[in-house]
Amino acid sequence: MIDKQVESVAGAVDDVHDGATVLIGGFGAAGSPIELIHALIDLGVKDLTVGSNNTGSGQVGLAALIRNGQVSKMICSFPRTANSTVFPELYRAGRIDLELVPQGTLAERIRAGGAGIPAFYTPSSVGTVLAEGKETRRFDGQDYVMEYGLRADFALVKAKRADRYGNLVYNKTARNFGPIMCTAAETAIVQVEEVVPAGGIDPECVVTPGIFVDRVVVVRQPAQESVLVQEGQVYP
């Protein structure tokens, strides 16, 4: 019987290795898989390349992973937010690399990676410093930049509900990068609040079909990054 559920967040991430590329869902605090990220901190893997829209905030979740020296490179669109001090400090100190990508290009690169598209053309960033060194090409009189599909070894994603096949639904704007990141990772690891029986998710409303999901772990009452930051929590 197909059953993608695993027992613990520790077990869900235990094969993430030094040097791995990891896509981490979330936009700001919404959809950030805090418990899975903390399991990565517990695991202690190093030299990670992380693709995520932001760089976390406060001293928990992604910001804590970075502060812990486990991330050697960030691929993101907006590496500063309110309460985000960890990344800027390391970046200025030259201790972490940054690949800055426009948000829509980041999304499309991930989507392309998952869809077997090695490269595509986009108008975003044409004529700016972010297009420097990139191939450009003219179609119908307009210039476009060539961008590459982005794939990863792992994706860490937060969803609301799953079934044993790994079908997922999300909560509101916490959906953000989750569905596309699941498609672009060799191993997609998802934390959900509950697992329902097969058929418990309307097949018309499935957002991420289970084929894109490898492991599901239940975190019944996930921490909200925004709340942890307000409370001044620090991990570990």
């Binding site: 700001g28 500063r80 948000q103 829509g104 980041l106 509101k172 959906r175 953000n176």
Partner: protein
């Protein structure tokens, strides 16, 4: 400025409001218009901020602030959200600016200064994909430096992408012949605008005639 701009938001349009001053536009929308707000993190049909008791940390806007969803809203993932933007489906985007040039170049994401943390978000996608780009900004920085300039010195967000500029002094259209001042703020003269602008400005047709309700000088 936000109040003035809100009058120009077409009824029935799909609108994306940038972070900061642009967000203020929504509260000034004339009550007889229906507009659907898109926020690029994955919501179409964004409503006003929630009552403090009704905050869902997983229902936020692109500025990471809590919002609500109207009846008839839709949630979607980032690739679909930027399909809306890049594919030309959004009618109007209102953005802030660090500098806007006379040819409509926009710089609003980085000073390019040593040690600054570059952060672009969706701005480069918005300026390329959305049909009409309005900029809302003070005419000058707090230190008095002009923000409406001949050429942007800060790193660009996009070239020739701005259609109209709303400042505390005037409303200006980016036209092939240059920056056309179509409207002056109450008590502001065209001469004041000219002096505060680091680019040539042209007096629009309506300016000379206060009777249109669009002009009016000092």
């Amino acid at each position: 400025m936000a109040r003035r701009l809100a009058v120009d938001v077409p009824d029935g349009s799909y609108v994306n409001l940038g972070i900061g001053m642009p967000e203020l536009v929504a509260q000034f929308l004339p009550s007889d218009r229906e507009v659907l707000y898109h926020t690029e993190n994955g919501l179409l049909g964004m409503g006003p901020p929630p009552h403090p008791d009704g905050v869902d940390p997983e229902l936020i806007n692109a500025g990471k602030k809590p919002v609500t969803a109207i009846p008839g809203a839709a949630y979607f993932h980032h690739a679909d959200s930027f399909t809306m933007i890049r594919g030309g489906h959004i009618d109007l985007c209102v953005l802030g600016a660090m500098q806007v040039s006379a040819s409509g170049d926009l710089a609003n994401w980085s000073t390019g200064a040593e040690g600054a943390i570059p952060a672009v978000g969706g701005a480069m996608d918005l300026v390329q994909g959305v049909r009409t780009i309005y900029v809302i900004t003070r005419h000058a920085t707090k230190r008095g430096a002009p923000k409406i300039v001949s050429y942007c010195t800060f790193p660009l967000t996009g070239r020739a992408c701005v259609d109209r500029i709303y400042t505390d002094l005037a409303v200006m259209d980016v036209e092939p012949e240059g920056l056309v001042v179509s409207e002056l703020a109450p008590g502001v003269s065209f001469e004041q605008v000219r002096e505060a602008t680091d680019a040539d400005v042209i007096a629009g047709e309506g300016l000379a005639d206060p009777g249109t309700g669009k002009g009016g000088g000092a």
